[in-house]
Structure formats: C-alpha cells, structure tokens
Symmetry: C2
Subunit: 321 residues, 2 copies
Amino acid sequence: MIVEEIKLDKLNAEFFIQEQCRAISSEVGNGTSVNALSGGVDSSVVTMLAHRALGNRARTFFIDNGLMREGEPQQVVSTMSKLGVPVERIDAQDEFFKALKGKADPEEKRQAITETFYKNVFGRLVRQSGSRSLMQGTIYTDVEETVAGIKRQHNILAQLGIDTEEVYGYKVIEPLIRLRKPGVRAVGKALGLPEEVYNRPPFPGPALVTRVVGEATRERIALVRKATTLVEQELAGVRAFQCLAILHEDKVTGVRDGKRDYGHQIEVRCWDSKDAVTASPTRLSFELLERLAARITTEVPGVVSVTYNVTAKPPSTIEAV
Amino acid sequence: MIVEEIKLDKLNAEFFIQEQCRAISSEVGNGTSVNALSGGVDSSVVTMLAHRALGNRARTFFIDNGLMREGEPQQVVSTMSKLGVPVERIDAQDEFFKALKGKADPEEKRQAITETFYKNVFGRLVRQSGSRSLMQGTIYTDVEETVAGIKRQHNILAQLGIDTEEVYGYKVIEPLIRLRKPGVRAVGKALGLPEEVYNRPPFPGPALVTRVVGEATRERIALVRKATTLVEQELAGVRAFQCLAILHEDKVTGVRDGKRDYGHQIEVRCWDSKDAVTASPTRLSFELLERLAARITTEVPGVVSVTYNVTAKPPSTIEAV
C-alpha cells in the first residue's frame, strides 16, 4: 500500500483541513488548480478545500456528461453557488455518448468515460486554463480495491503507476486519499457543507453508465434515470448507505393489457454498509418493494419486471457494472 | 373461446373422471393411446385417466429431454410405478440440446422444443406405437393465455387452428381443457394420486429452458438446475404457488477472494397465486432470502449475485422466458 490510512478515531477534521490547505498551497505554489465537481461528497469536499486553500486561483468545473441523475447538474451547481463557490458548468453530453457508442463491455465503457473525461473534456479545460494542477477526490477505499483488482478506478492513475503528468499532461493532487468515507463526511461537515451534501449517499464516477448492463445509449440512460428517481423517492425515508436502479440488457416476458409484452427488467439494490467494503441488502418491507415495483413498471416505459438484490458484498459488489 | 370452463364449485371430481374415461374410450375406440408424462400435475392426471379408461391399451412415455430438475426423471417414473402405472423412459437429451444450439430468442427456443418434442421424439414414438391418439394435459388457463396472446403454449395446437392430424400425424385428446389448476388438483386427488403429485407446484413444459435467458446449453441448464435445487430446498417450508430460479445472460460484477469476479446472476421468483392468472411475490423473510443467496453464490459455480423478483403478475409473468 502506497499511502497510510487515517483512522476515523485519529482524525481531527479541523487539523486535517489546515494541513491539506497548506499542502495544496505548497503543491500549487503561485499557480492555479482546477478540479471537477461531480456533486458527490468526495469531490464536494475537494472543491471546498481547493477554494479555501487557493481562493480565486481554484477553478471548479461541473462536466455535464449526460449520465447524471434527474436535475442533478442544476442542483450541484446551485448548492455550491449558495456557499459562495463558483462552478463552471460544461455541456459535454455529445462527446460522452459518442465515446460510449457500441460499447457493451463494462471495462470498455469505463475506459471510454475515463478517456473522454481526462484526455478530451477535462484535459482540454485544464490545458485551456493554463493550470498544471488537477485536484481529485480519490479516497482510501478506492486505492485498496484497485490494488486488490476489484475495481478499475478511473481516478487513481497515479496509484496504478501511470505517470499522469506524462500521459495526460497534468499533475494530480488527491487530498482525501488517506480517508475512508466516514472521514470524508466528517471533513465535509467541518468545512460547512450542508448535510445533504456531506451525508449524501455515494454515486459512482461513471454515473448512470454503471447502472446500465450493455450499451449505454441516450435512451437507455433515460430509462435508468427515471427508475433511479423513483427508487430515490420511494426509499428517501430509509436510512441506507446507498440505493440504486440497474437496467438489465436481458429482456424478460411480461404481460400488459392482457397481451404478451417482452420488456425490460430493472434491478433495485439498497445497501447497509459503513464504507462500501462489505455491505448487506437493506431489509426493506415488501409493502415498499411492491409499491416501488408497481411505480417502476407503470412509470418507466417498457419495464415489465423489477427485482431486488439479496446478496451480500462480497460476493456481490455495490454497483453491477 | 372454444371450450367452456367448469368452475371449481360446479366440479364433481368423481363424475368428471367417469365422464372423461367414457369420452376417452369412445374417442380411442378399439385403438391405443399414447401420452407423454412430464411429472407435473396435469400430465400425471392425464396418465391416470388414460390408464383407467384404457388399461394396457394406454402407453405412457417419459421423455428425458435433459431439461428437467435434479433427480426428476427417476422420481416421476418411480412414483407412477408405485401406482401400478408403467411408464417408458426415453433418453432424448442429445436431440433436444442439438435443437436448442445457437438459439437465444425465447420464441425460437420454445419452437425448437415443440418441434423436437412433437415432430421428432414423440411423433416417432407415436408412429412406432401405431397409435393414432395422443392425450395431453392442456388446461383452461393455457387456452385463455394463448388466445390472449400472452403465451405460445406448445400443447394446444388444435386451439390455434392447427390440424394436428394433418401436421403431426396424430389426434390430440385433451381431457382437462375445461379445468383450471385447482380443478385438476381435485381430480388428481380423486384419482388416488399422492399429495406431492396432485399438489405439486407447476413446472413449465419447456422445463428449465424457460429459466435460462439466452442460449440453453448443457452447461447453462446444469447451472440453473443446481440453483433450482437450492431454491426448492430452502423454500420447501413456504406455502407458495410456485418458486423458481432463473439464470440471466447479463453478467454482473462481483468480488471473490478479494478479486474482481465478473459472473452470473440468478433471479429467484416465488409466487402467491391461485391459478397463475394473477400472482404476487411471496413475502419471504430476509433471513431466508439472504441464506438462499449465500448458498447459491457458494454452491453454483460462477454466480456472484442473486435477486428476488418483487413485481406482481401482471405486468410480470410467472416464468421469465
């Protein structure tokens, strides 16, 4: 392991913030930094640290890849704006969907997103900005899982021995790399982020693409987006670590208006977990599960079947793709 | 609708048996009949009626298509043998797997089984037997769903306007066509079938093929067979209408021994229903569901994820394919 974890009971959030701000200042020097905000707790904390350390020498971009949840781009930008942190929203939807075209393999899809994000969209923004420093929200769990070969995490190239300065043309600063999720939340709280941000359930970097089995077209992303909205609405009162909807590629037989209707299947997952390393399915009531299934099959076009994942992690993972 | 239903409250099982035996005798005349026994309640009742009506002029075949559950061929033959009904077991596994090769579409798979069953294996047995009468366990629900376009039921060709005498070379007798499942069970009980047969949960004609999304190879059938055994073992104490395991074609990400393991997903369904026309998911305990998932991911090679279907029928159907 290249970095050493800071355990939650050893974490002093205020001290951590000061230390990281000093480190960022020293790393960036008189230059500027750029970072990409996804809206998740990790990148929100990084955004706050960057702006606290560098003031207006920090530039934060929200890249609208067309793969986010309903209303998410607007919401993320407006939350930061209310905290006095300016965020530049970049519409890159066409570029991402073009890169995803024809790709069904999970690794190829992740690769397409990584490449589009780093080499094209964000790389271009960084080059245009003239900045040489990129800040990222990599956390300790990402490092562990990547080293273990479970995940191919797109944001820890350095950990994989890739020289990001040479390959992508910029330097990566990862202020959260020694924390697990609870530590990041504590730091977010100390930074003054609103609770809905610092306690926000995790959402993957490749966004809804990890929730579509097979090719992630605009149409399929729209279906899983709609299902995700319903899952998040219906499970809003459940204290779970994370909940999600997955659009399967397999079609199953259904019946609609008395006729055979060969349609889509949505898988719902809802996890109890502390840090995503292990997880167990949340024991939801069948009343809730059946109501959710009824809404999804009624409100998401073409869906005839809804399942709930009942496997523990391991051997399951949080996301499906 | 071509035939008129006999409602359960109007059914006199003893009278029905006498009436059907008379009808069978009159239809078969001095000839012989053949029928295929799958082990389900419908074909078991037909077998009993045939042997009661015709004695040793009735021949019953059990066609081992390689698509049945664990130990099923042995069990079905031995149960009937104990009742004094001789059943001839025919090994036709190679023929069925050859017909299924390369077929992923549900309709094509069902078609392949129908053709192999009727035109090849059973047709050949009927021709060799010299009999002109084929008895089948079609029930009223099959007719309804086929007429409605929900199902393409392989055993009611006559109802679809196909002249079976011309197309396949024999005549079809369907003594149960006016009954729904509870009526068939009542008749089975009156015929002296053991309870595990007359109350046996339904099992589809195309057997485990309807529980494999995509191509039904020997290997994939073996996987879903193993999962089916576990589901039936773990849910043996649950009073459900039907329970089943489905092997999906979609692969999902899992983690095994600390490493990424891209593997299979098994979907479990368990239904509360009276007659399969409508159904709702059985409200199993999470303790049971999680234990089942743990067993399936441990005991069925390559499975990393297990889901439970939470949709009502409609819009779901009982089987997936």
